[in-house]
């Protein structure tokens, strides 16, 4: 009877394709939009990935890594004085303007790190060496900078090439791998002192202090000790969702609460859900209505209600599996293309396809239930009425 149910489903080509199309569209919209949203949220924490440090100490009102309420330079020493802290270094982080060869300007994410320890330096160099950062006017740029800052040049930006940051020369001594920033500007590393020269002066310039705990002390314990001793806010740099002291979680939740991004993506996801429910349920119900006399005849001939219900469930779940599979494949292709191009940002943790699969199964269950409910109200005697 399961084979019969599938033949009935595949035999009605128009409705079968409509059902698959509806569930495909729902899957694609939900997975793709959720994936881009997660990718975008990951971009907001790129600085934390690119400037690797277990503890970030910031001004007490700072909620996320891209927000800068400058500290005093003396705060570095205050953090170092905490007994649970093994090391602490200054970091400058801010958006600056680069003048291109053709006279146009591009924004960059300038990162200034301690020249002696190079704490917070890029983790993977593609060309050049980290220690060259100590040379005069030296900067290390990421791959995106090569792409963005090469416009108007006869050849792509390379080691030894120069450009201007706020009218001050910068010479490329290294090219590194880095996560893309939320603002879209490439990352440019230099020393902390030189970063202050590149930046228009203000009374306080220190963006954050990065620190590490002494052996035998956890980062959480060290962060708590820093907060207690200095009155500053100390975040730990860990994966999203660990606890409220995690800078990644704090940053992402700030964007969720304070921007329209989740509403925008959420609306599209809800539309995908509504489209899926509307098309799948309406089309499947129409399919059941079209076949009501045949299903009624099966009922009259001795097919149990349970078996007929199973037939409808198999039909609904079959289009669900196919629609979900096609939608997921299309989303994966979109994600592969986006990763290849570098944008839009896409991040697909396993929970997204699994949750979407659950949503599609729920839609299919609802569609099947509507059909089962309609069929349950159909008395087998009604097939004798022409």
């Amino acid at each position: 009877m399961i084979g019969l149910a599938l033949k009935m489903l595949f035999g009605d080509t128009a409705k079968y394709l409509m059902l698959v199309a509806g569930l495909f569209l729902a899957t694609f919209l939900i997975v793709q939009q959720t994936g881009v949203f997660c990718g975008l949220m990951r971009w907001t924490t790129s600085t934390l990935k690119n400037v690797g440090a277990p503890i970030w100490v910031v001004e007490e009102r700072v909620e996320q890594v891209n927000e800068t309420n400058p500290l005093r330079d003396t705060d570095v020493a205050r953090v170092r004085s905490v007994s649970e802290v093994a090391w602490a270094m200054p970091v400058f982080s801010g958006i600056q303007r680069v003048r291109m060869d053709n006279g146009s300007f591009k924004t960059i994410q300038l990162v200034g790190i301690d020249s002696a320890s190079l704490a917070g330096a890029p983790t993977r160099m593609l060309e050049g060496t980290l220690t060259d950062l100590c040379l005069p006017n030296a900067v290390i740029v990421d791959e995106l900078a090569v792409e963005r800052l090469s416009k108007g040049r006869p050849r792509p930006l390379a080691l030894g090439d120069t450009f201007e940051i706020n009218d001050i020369e910068a010479r490329v001594v290294g090219i590194c791998e880095a996560k893309r920033s939320f603002t879209g500007g490439p990352y440019v590393w230099t020393t902390y002192e030189r970063a202050l020269q590149y930046t228009p002066p203000s009374r306080k310039m220190l963006s954050a202090v990065i620190a590490g705990p002494v052996d035998g002390v956890s980062v959480d314990e060290a962060a708590t000790a820093i907060e207690k001793a200095t009155g500053l806010k100390a975040f730990v740099n860990r994966d999203f969702g660990e606890n409220e002291k995690d800078f990644n979680s704090s940053t992402i939740w700030w964007y969720v609460r304070n921007t329209g991004i989740p509403v925008s993506f959420g609306t599209t996801v809800v539309i995908g859900l509504i489209v899926g429910i509307a098309i799948a349920c309406q089309t499947f119900y129409a399919f059941v209505l079209d076949n009501l006399m045949h299903l009624g005849a099966l009922k009259a001939m001795g097919t149990s209600s349970f078996r007929l219900s199973m037939m409808l469930i198999v039909q609904a779940f079959t289009v669900g599996f196919i629609g979900f599979g096609l939608g997921l494949a299309a989303s994966a292709m979109f994600a592969a293309g986006a990763i290849e191009r570098g944008q839009p940002p896409v991040y697909l943790p396993w929970i997204i396809p699994v949750a979407t699969f659950g949503v599609i199964l729920a839609i299919c269950s609802l569609a099947a239930l509507l059909g089962i409910f309609r069929l349950s109200r159909f008395e087998p005697a009604m097939v004798f009425r022409a």
Binding site: H294, A300, M301, S305, E379, V383
Partner: protein, 251 residues
């Protein structure tokens, strides 16, 4: 406890006794079957005839076990249908009754052989064995060469023969037919009725046909005439008249 295997030691296939059935409530209540009693015998074609709305189809539904009755008793091959409920009734229908509907109700998206094999699939026979048996029965009704076709490619008469094959494939002792010639022209109607005659001759089988097509009355062994929910008379047909319509089934 109902028996799944039919038994009939006295030649009575269906025994309907004092059956009443109403629809609706209060002032809108419609008394459709009024103290109906009737017997169908094995080996015969019994026709239920009468004007539209007289209760023929309701009585047929009650005999087929697809509709309950308010009062009275219905035995089919000694099995008390009026006492059966739910799964037992469904299983009884699957085992013992072949159905032929006015609009054939063949599933359009599967082949004729697959349509015919449906009653066997309902009984749990494997798809391959069911299909093999279905092709044998299609051969018997002269449709063996069309087993791969879908019903939509066939004429009304051919579709009705497929429906007959579907009703017979699981060899039920009782075949129920609702207006089998309503959608057929005279020639196809005669072909179908000849098939019914052969079916009824099978040992221990009874065929009950609801019709208001007076062209086919002569094919009945007995005719039960209904009016306003009552059986007004039951009479045997003239065998000489039947002989006049008999002819070979074309293959």
């Amino acid at each position: 406890m109902a028996k799944d295997t039919p038994t009939s030691s006295n030649g009575i296939a269906v025994d309907v006794r004092g059956v009443n059935k109403s629809f609706g409530d209060g002032a809108a209540r419609l008394h459709v079957l009024k103290d109906v009693s009737l017997q169908a015998l094995t080996g015969e074609i019994l026709m239920l005839v009468g004007p539209s709305g007289c209760g023929k189809t309701t009585l047929l539904s009650a005999i087929a076990g697809t509709m309950g009755v308010d009062s009275g008793e219905i035995d089919v091959f000694g099995n008390p249908l009026h006492r059966m409920r739910g799964g037992a009734l469904t299983r009884f229908r699957a085992q013992n009754i072949g159905f032929i509907f006015q609009q054939f109700n063949l599933i359009p998206t599967i082949t004729c052989a697959e349509n015919v094999s449906v009653p066997l699939l309902i009984r749990g026979v494997s798809a391959s064995a069911a299909k093999k048996k279905a092709r044998e029965v299609l051969d018997a009704v002269g449709m063996g060469d069309r087993w791969k076709d879908r019903p939509g490619k066939l004429s009304g008469g051919q579709q009705q023969r497929i429906a007959i094959a579907r009703a017979l494939v699981h060899e039920p002792p009782l075949v129920i037919c609702d207006e089998p010639t309503a959608a057929l022209d005279a020639k196809n109607g005669e072909i179908v009725l000849d098939l019914f005659r052969q079916v009824a001759r099978a040992a221990g089988r009874a065929v009950i046909i609801v019709t208001h097509d007076n062209r086919i009355f002569s094919y009945a062994d007995r005719i039960a005439r209904m009016d306003d929910g009552c059986i007004v008379d039951v009479h045997r047909t003239d065998p000489r008249e039947v002989a006049h319509f008999e002819h070979e089934v074309p293959h």
